[in-house]
Amino acid sequence: MKTCIACGMPMKKESDFAMGDTSKDYCVYCANSDGTMQSFEEKKQSLINFTIKTQGLDQSVAEKAVENMMRQLPAWKECF
């Protein structure tokens, strides 16, 4: 199974992929409305906000957890 290079989500059905395009390496949640992949800063911010919203984490903890996760992902290797 393919996993999104930018967030690690498994991608199986067409609707998981950016623009429903299964040749893409990133998922629907990591795409801008024009289909391009979100930037590092955009993705990081949205993941931090999401973690705080759904888990109630302290801002600094959320930041570190998100950075830790992004560091493992192929899309952001050069950002660290």
């Binding site: 199974m1 996993t3 690690g8 989500m9 498994p10 199986k12 059905k13 999401f50 973690t51 705080i52 919203k53 759904t54 888990q55 109630g56 984490l57 903890v61 570190k64 957890a65 830790n68 996760m69 493992q72």
Partner: protein, 192 residues
């Protein structure tokens, strides 16, 4: 093409991870690498060829565990799931790893900092799915006006309480035996 040597190396790495998983599930994270080496039938040094430190081994194990949960939940979420089926899917995934997960949540505070971040990210996958289900179900069932993180943390708090205090409720698998009760009543709590 992988060489024979590479295949062998990967197999040993997998064996160490599988064994560490079992040893930690049985004894907790204080179990020594010596013990893991013996159980895996490899030399102590072999473990450190693959994992330079115990921290690396634990983090790698947690990452593998996290991606397995991620995959299971993702596959289950493909079906047209509702709140009840999602909560059941979450519990079913945890039942597969119950002993290990129990150790993990009981000992997380004493694990290395990086392991804690991996743990948060494991929970993020669950909160992602729960959030999606809640958003989707909003029109069908009335959910109380509670912030999303309280909805999620209450669910996690409930199942973690039952898991860490397993002995209060049963001698067997607490999740297997109390699954239906927990799901049904949790939904009642958050429903308007």
């Amino acid at each position: 093409m992988k060489t024979k040597r590479q295949i062998q190396k990967e197999a040993t790495r997998k064996l160490i991870l599988d064994t560490a998983y079992q040893v930690y599930a049985d004894e907790g994270f204080a179990a020594t690498t010596n013990k893991i080496a013996k159980a895996a039938n490899v030399s102590h040094g072999t473990i450190f060829v693959h994992f330079p430190t115990v921290e690396c081994l634990i983090i790698c194990l947690l990452e593998r565990f996290g991606s397995e949960i991620n995959e299971h939940l993702h596959i289950l979420s493909e079906k047209d799931e509702n709140l009840e089926t999602f909560l059941a899917a979450h519990i079913n995934v945890l039942i597969r790893y119950e002993d290990f997960y129990k150790r993990l949540i009981s000992e997380i505070n004493s694990l290395p900092q990086e392991a804690k971040y991996v743990f948060i990210n494991i929970q993020s996958v669950v909160s992602f799915h729960l959030n999606q289900v809640i958003e989707r179900e909003k029109d069908k069932i009335a959910i109380k006006d509670i912030p999303m993180h309280i909805i999620f943390n209450s669910w996690l708090g409930l199942i973690h309480y039952y898991l860490t205090n397993n002995y209060l409720f049963t001698v067997g698998s607490v999740l297997t035996e109390h699954k239906d009760e927990l799901i049904l009543n949790y939904i009642k709590l958050i429903e308007k």
